[in-house]
Every structure is written in C-alpha cells, then in structure tokens.
C-alpha cells in the first residue's frame, strides 16, 4: 500500500504516527483515505475548493506533484507521499 508521511504538526490527528498506509491510486485518493482514517486532517492540507493550501507542498518520493499531475498523480504500492508545510521557527 502507498503511505503518507505526516508532518509533525499534523500528528495530533494520527495519534502521533508519522507514517500512515492508505488505499489509493492517486494523491487525491490518498488524502481522502487519510481523512477517513483520521477525520479533520484533510482540512489542514486542502482548501475549501479541494486545492492544496498555498503553504503546503506535496511530494511523491522526491518529486513535487506540481511537476507531475498534481493531486491526480498516480501512486504505486510502494510510493511514499510526503506532506511538507512551511515552518516559521528559527530562534
């Protein structure tokens, strides 16, 4: 199954789990399945129109989905989807 790497800021939704396996063939499906397993988390990733929020970037492996097919990027069983948010801290 593909998996989603959950950033630490969203692990309150996943009970602290960093990696969540999902049943999905696209990134969009993967986020939908993540939401089914951990309600509320999708609203932190997608806006009301279903687009990725501007301060979040999603990767499949090392590849930015913006350079692939966006949320329709196809997934294989071994793919890891990473959700990477902007981080403010530094001092």
């Amino acid at each position: 199954m593909p998996s989603i790497r959950v950033p630490s800021a969203l692990r309150t939704f996943t009970g602290g789990n960093a990696d969540v396996e999902v049943t999905a063939t696209t990134v969009r499906d993967a986020i939908a399945d993540l939401e089914r397993r951990h309600p509320g988390i999708a609203a932190r990733i997608l806006d009301g129109g279903g687009a990725v929020k501007p301060f979040i970037r999603i990767f499949v492996g090392a590849d930015d989905i913006g350079g692939l097919a966006g949320l329709d990027t196809q997934l294989t069983e071994r793919d890891e989807v990473s959700i990477v948010p902007a981080i403010a801290g530094g001092t």
Partner: protein, 234 residues
C-alpha cells in the same frame, strides 16, 4: 581561500543564527548579522552562543562579538530586517541567510534575494524538526515552494529542542558555504527534517518553479542559471 571574502548577511541571531554565524565566520566569510531582539534567560537552552551575562543585550551585537573573538569578521545590526532598509545591512551581501523566527521575514528575504540576483538559504526549525532550502538565481524560489506565509507557530510559541537548532543550523551553514563558492548542489532543493529520526538523514526534495510566481517574474537572468522547469497548473 584567496581573494575578497564572500560577504554574507544573516537574518536572525538566535538558535539557527548562532551556529550559522559561528561556522561561516570561522570559514572566512565577512558577516553582517541582523536581529532586533535582545537576549532573554528563556533563550539560553537553545541559543548556546549566549550566557546569562548577556541577558538584556542585543543578540546581533553579542553574536557578532562572539564571531570576532574567534578570529572572524562580523558586525551586528540591532534592527528588524526589512527590505526597505537593505542599504544598511544587506545590499553588498553576496549571500543572504534567513534564520529568523518570522514567516513574513522568510518570504521577504527570499523575494529580495531573487529580485537582486543573490544566493540565499532559508532555514526553519520548530519542536523536533525543520526545513532548509538553498536558493540561487535561475532556480525555483521559496515563494515558488510555499506561496505565502502560513499562520504557523514560532519557536517562541511552540518551542524547539535545543539540539535541533544546532543540527539544522549546521546543515544550513554547510549549504550556505557551498553556495558561497558556487556549489549549487542544493539550489532549488528543500531538506526536510521531519523529526528526531531524520535529523541525521533528511529527505531531500526538489520542486518546480511555479508558473506565475510574482518573485520569479521579476528575477534577473543569471548567466549560469539552470533552466527553470515550470509546472503545469502548479
């Protein structure tokens, strides 16, 4: 190293700015350190360049003194970094490193570097992880990556483990030093430190320039720039 030293401006003299300044100063870069804040007792667990004797003093000045005491060249400027004041502290920098605690400042530093054709590093840390991005003319920029500042907690609000800023600051310094000598291995790349497990082995991801990015739209063309790959619909 020979010739004129590379000049770098470091924005932020705290948990990330400390190790970055110490490393780059010791490597021979001529530094300007900009930070409006003063040292507080609650900073000391993660800002190990300071001691209790420094409480109440400007961080930029104390850090510059620490770099100088180790044989480096540094001056501290105790103001908040703003793009309209760059004549005072950043205009002559070859390289700019953001180590601030403020999302708007990170975007402002990146936008300024892109508009002025400078190499730059944006470093962030929070709780147990963080991100480091390298930038150079011709590569996708920080605003391509994250379109606008997020309403995200800062270290002062959410906390950060002391060793995390040391580890991420060291990586940021190494990438900055590479960029100073035109090693663009990490230009247009983001190093992601998810948590303590990945501090020694971050994920490295590359991202495409975003079509319509307002920062890149006004960027000068670098003679040694790699082609920008524009993503459809991104």
């Amino acid at each position: 190293m020979t010739g004129t030293p590379t000049r770098a401006t470091i924005v932020g003299a705290g948990g990330l700015g400390g190790p970055i300044a110490m490393s780059l100063g010791a490597a021979g870069l001529e530094l300007t350190i900009v930070d409006h804040d003063v040292v507080e007792l609650s900073n000391l667990h993660r800002q190990i360049q300071f001691t209790a004797d420094h409480v109440g003093r400007p961080k930029a000045i104390v850090l510059a003194d620490a770099v100088t005491a180790r044989g480096g060249q540094a001056r501290g400027v105790a103001v908040r970094w703003r793009p309209e004041d760059t004549d005072e502290h950043t205009q002559d920098a070859d390289l700019v490193i953001d180590a601030s605690d403020d999302p708007a400042t990170k975007f402002a530093v990146s936008d300024w570097a892109v508009a002025n054709g400078r190499r730059y590093v944006i470093a962030s840390a929070l709780r147990y992880g963080g991100n480091v991005m390298g930038g150079a003319p011709g590569y996708a920029c920080y605003r391509c990556l994250f379109e606008e500042p997020a309403e995200a907690p800062t270290c002062a609000q959410a906390g950060v483990l002391g060793p995390v800023v040391g580890a991420i600051g060291g990586v940021a310094a190494a990438i900055a030093l590479g960029l100073a000598y035109d090693d663009r291995t990490y230009a247009g790349a983001l190093l992601v430190f998810d948590d303590l497990r990945t501090l020694v082995e971050p994920r490295i991801v590359r991202f495409a320039a975003r079509r319509g990015c307002p920062a890149c739209a006004t960027a000068p063309i670098s003679p040694f720039a790699a082609p920008i790959r524009l993503a459809e619909g991104s």
